[in-house]
């Protein structure tokens, strides 16, 4: 009398929410253990705030889990545990740097950051839940394609408005509203991804028309070059106006990659590559700060007084060696901005090569899950959006950690979920929410068109 046997018409994805909960509790334990280890390493005792943090992290985990169970039950079960692990490690490291930095960093003007980061994490979770609850179907976003495009441009322009825009360390990428500083570029990244996805879904057929075939690659027609040139122009504008090399690179990379996915034409990568090379050359020739970044990258030790940050970051990594100094036992406070831009080097120092490789693998898994969601997604818009978000995460991690470890020239981007900074953490939670939403849509069993198939009585009458 098993009604299910033989009656399921197709593969029904398992929800795996239980597995998620197990993984999630492991992530919470990692965060709490890291926090305790920091206290033991720096002060020789478990920090007083351990109950508060344990409670917060557990609450975060449970709340996230319940929200997903309720509104996205088929969502990918691995993403959230990965992200919570990173977020917990980031909080512990910021708390750790707080302990050493109080009298030492920023000429004695250092304010502890861990509490604010915890608060921003909470706001990030609210953003996460809001996105999941409000957007029940990601395809509805497509209707607002140009709204998001406009929003992206407004967000990008905000820091240039006198009064609220702020120039911090040479880059105009911050705005200040009352007591809050915000990097609108982080939000612009999501808006742009949605805009590109919506736009390309519509235009992809035209853009996919091949023009000339050179060396086995179909290059696009000249008249279709408009959009990519606009995207390139905007990137260059960001570079010129805001001196923000990292975002400029990220936005352009995101656009080219999504163009490639939409059209399936590698020719767009060639065009993008050529434009990127031209932009880089232009930046190198025209801007002292781009040239400077290049020189610092190639010869950091030629000017130890001015290149102290990258040099100290490298020293930290080297000092960490294979196994690291241990939580609280290194000296990340010696590296300027080790709590934000250079948090990767702080991890490399205290957790060693082993730790930083584990963190890189976590990022790699997040990107892999994102791309898997894109592969299995059934609608073109969702595919493009998921792939775009995943690739942007990969690019961002590559650019920032590659910069800190001197694989590529250093540019200012935040390390997702680890680095101190409210806007980054909130927007990255929102990205995860979008990915989960698409994933839930994808893995959810197709709605049953009619019910008569499950009606055994009708099946009996088979001839």
């Amino acid at each position: 009398m098993s009604s299910g046997l033989g009656s399921s018409p197709a593969w029904v994805p398992r929800k795996r929410r239980g597995a998620e909960l197990v993984l999630l509790s492991m992530s919470v334990v990692i965060g709490i253990a890291a926090y305790c280890a920091v206290g033991l390493g720096v002060e020789g005792r478990i920090p007083a705030g351990v109950a508060k943090l344990s409670f917060s992290l557990a609450a975060v985990a449970v709340a996230t889990h319940l929200v997903i169970r309720k509104v996205a039950p088929y969502a990918d079960p691995v993403l959230i545990p990965l992200v919570v692990a990173l977020n917990g490690l980031g909080l512990a490291m910021i708390y750790r740097i707080d302990l050493s930095c109080e009298d030492y960093c920023l000429g004695g003007n250092y304010e502890p950051l861990a509490n604010a980061q915890l608060m921003w994490t909470a706001i990030g979770l609210i953003a996460f839940a809001t996105v999941l609850i409000v957007i029940r179907d990601h395809r509805r976003l497509q209707a607002y394609t140009f709204t998001f495009g406009l929003a992206a441009i407004v967000l990008l322009l905000l820091p240039l408005i006198p009064g609220i825009g702020q120039d911090i360390r040479g880059a105009k990428i911050w705005i200040r509203l009352g007591p809050f500083s915000f990097q609108p570029g982080e939000a612009a990244k999501i808006c742009l991804a949605i805009f590109f996805a919506g736009y390309l879904v519509v235009k992809r057929d035209a853009l996919a028309l091949a023009g000339r075939r050179i060396a086995g690659i179909d290059l696009p027609r000249g008249r279709d070059l408009g959009p990519i040139l606009v995207g390139w122009g905007i990137s260059i504008l960001i570079l010129v106006a805001q001196k923000d090399l990292g975002s400029s690179l990220l936005f352009f990379g995101l656009f080219v990659v999504m163009l490639y996915i939409a059209t399936e034409r590698p020719g767009w990568l060639v065009v993008g590559g050529v434009l990127f090379a031209a932009g880089s050359y232009f930046g190198y020739v025209a801007f002292g700060h781009v040239r400077n970044r290049f020189d610092v990258w190639l010869h950091p030790f030629s000017d130890p007084d001015n290149n102290g940050q990258i040099i100290n970051g490298l020293f930290g990594l080297a000092h960490g060696g294979i196994l690291g100094r241990g939580w609280g036992l290194g000296s990340p406070e010696l590296t300027p901005f080790s709590f934000s831009d250079f948090i990767a080097s702080a991890f490399g120092e205290e957790l060693g090569l082993t730790g930083i490789m584990a963190i890189l693998v976590i990022y790699g898994l997040i990107v892999e899950r994102g791309l898997r969601i894109a592969l299995t997604c059934r609608d073109a818009f969702g595919k493009l959006l998921a792939a775009g978000l995943a690739v942007s995460m990969a690019l961002q991690v590559f650019v920032v950690i590659g910069g800190v470890t001197r694989l590529i020239p250093l540019t200012g981007l935040t390390t997702p979920f680890l680095a101190q900074g409210g806007s980054s953490i909130v927007m990255n939670w929102a990205i995860i929410a979008l990915l989960l939403r698409i994933s839930d849509q994808t893995r959810r069993p197709a709605p049953e068109v009619s019910s008569f198939e499950s009606d055994e009585a009708t099946q009996v009458v088979k001839l």
Binding site: E264, L334, L384
Partner: protein, 493 residues
């Protein structure tokens, strides 16, 4: 759209692979070189708070780390600071290290690869890592005697003494005056360290220079030993061969009106004197004419065989001595002056000790060294110095060196170097009083070896300036007694 997504997945994999490989490169391959870079505070902090190994002389630590009880845990202490400063150097938080503290840092700090097993054991047993120790070749009695000899000439005396074991090249004594107190630079009170550093580096007497190895000055008549060695080899002379004497050397008009005269206008005992007599009275005319006969190339080659032109000493700062400045083509007068250790000739006391040591060791010049053994924290020997000659070609033949030793002994017995006489021991020596400029006193030199039949010590003394009146300055008078007392200390007489 799945194909591009799959391709991008591979591209992302490549990005992450690049990041992973790169952190492996930085934290594993490049780590050692980054850790040893200047100004790496992490490494400085760590090494500064480590139980650093001792520097030993005759079994006693001249530099050691003792528990300090402050944030750095250990304080570096120098037992006899001024006496050993030119060898130990200093170990400072701000200014790094110098001399042995710097060159043997890997062993002393315990980070040397040969101490890897010890580090693993320390790690597993949760013990503080300890550094290995370094034993110097110094003979403490000779070192103290040399220092007190210079001190006896007055507080303002500047000079250096270097003594070698000619059979091995081991440095038995290396003293420089003025010296400094490395404890001041090793202090944990960084403001005081900074003040001390400013004072020491600003001092015009340069107390932080090792005058025995770093400073090269005209060696004067002590260089006649090199000329004599070249003459024995190239002109096939014997101690009783006749050479030119007299009051002046006029080069037969080849140097215009220039003539080379003797100190105080003496005639060296005749117009034709024996080679031995020429060395005994340090006859400028004789050696000027010999240098002329030998020629620049051969004299230069002889100097090079004794070690000129290169710094052979490892682990201590040093300068290479020179016969001529780079590319100089000497005219006849300049060659004659060079033959008596003037013009562009400049040598460190270590170099002149090596000349004496080469003559002492049957013509074979041994490479000087100052580290006798390198030991693990438990004092087990990790590395032992292995004496070697500086070149495959001996500086002179055994027969020639025996002749030159005989001439040097006769110089002590009846020549200018009588101040080095020791009863019961045949001492060979040569004095030097090198003129510099008119406005500063001449440099007093003395090089000696003993016992002449089977030498075990070679010594060079330089008194650069002292409280002595100008007309009293002579190598034999000022520097000779110091050389003698150092020899006595080594021979335990």
């Amino acid at each position: 759209m799945n194909k591009p997504i799959r391709n991008l997945a591979i591209a992302c994999l490549a990005l992450f692979a690049a990041l992973l490989l790169n952190v492996n490169y930085v934290q594993f391959v490049e780590a050692d070189s980054l850790n040893s870079k200047n100004g790496n505070r992490r490494v400085i902090d760590e090494e500064f708070s480590r139980d650093r190994g001792s520097i030993l002389v005759d079994g006693d630590p001249v530099a050691e780390s003792v528990k300090s009880g402050d944030q750095y845990e250990y304080q570096r202490k120098y037992a006899e600071p001024g006496l050993y400063a030119p060898l130990t150097g200093f170990f400072s938080y701000i200014y790094g290290g110098a001399s042995i503290e710097r060159s043997q840092n890997a062993v002393l700090s315990g980070s040397d690869n040969r101490l890897f097993v010890n580090r693993v054991v320390d790690l597993l047993s949760n013990a503080q890592p300890k550094g290995g120790s370094v034993e110097l070749t110094i003979n403490s009695a000779a070192q103290k005697t040399a220092a007190s000899g210079l001190e006896a000439l007055g507080k303002n005396t500047k000079g250096a003494v270097v003594a070698l074991d000619p059979r091995t090249g081991a440095i038995l004594a290396s003293v420089t005056q003025p010296s400094y107190d490395p404890n001041r630079l090793a202090s944990h009170d960084l403001n005081k360290v900074e003040a001390a550093w400013k004072e020491l580096t600003g001092d015009k007497d340069q107390p932080m220079i090792n005058r025995g190895t770093q400073q090269i000055l005209p060696p004067g008549s002590t260089f006649k030993l090199v000329t004599a060695a070249a003459a024995l080899k190239n002109l096939k002379l014997d101690p009783d061969s006749k050479v030119k004497g007299g009051t002046t050397l006029d080069f037969g008009g080849r140097a215009g009106s220039y003539t080379l005269g003797n100190e105080n206008g003496s005639n060296c005992g005749g117009n034709s004197i024996t080679f031995e007599q020429a060395l005994n009275v340090s006859c400028n005319v004789s050696f000027g004419s010999l240098a002329d006969k030998i020629g620049q190339d051969k004299l230069d080659a002889q100097a090079e065989l004794f070690g000129f032109g290169r710094d052979y000493l490892e682990g201590l700062p040093g300068s290479s001595s020179r016969f001529t400045a780079e590319g100089t083509d000497l005219d006849v007068a300049q060659l004659a002056q060079s033959g008596i250790g003037q013009y562009e000739v400049a040598a460190s006391p270590l170099q002149m000790a090596m000349v004496a040591a080469g003559i002492a060791n049957d013509g074979v010049v041994m490479k000087p060294y100052v580290v006798k053994t390198v030991r693990e924290p438990n004092l087990q020997v990790l590395e032992k110095a292995e004496p070697e000659a500086i070149s495959d070609t001996p500086a002179m033949s055994a027969a020639d060196s025996a002749k030159l030793r005989q001439m040097m002994v006769s110089t002590v017995e009846r020549g200018t170097a009588t101040s080095a006489r020791i009863s019961g021991v045949d001492v060979g020596a040569k004095t030097g009083t090198a003129q510099s400029t008119e406005d500063r006193p001449p440099y007093a030199w003395f090089v000696a070896l003993a016992p002449a039949d089977n030498p075990t010590v070679a010594v060079a003394v330089l008194v650069e300036s002292s409280d002595t009146a100008r007309n009293e300055i002579a190598g034999g008078r000022l520097a000779g007694p110091i050389a003698r007392s150092v020899i006595e200390a080594v021979l335990e007489k």
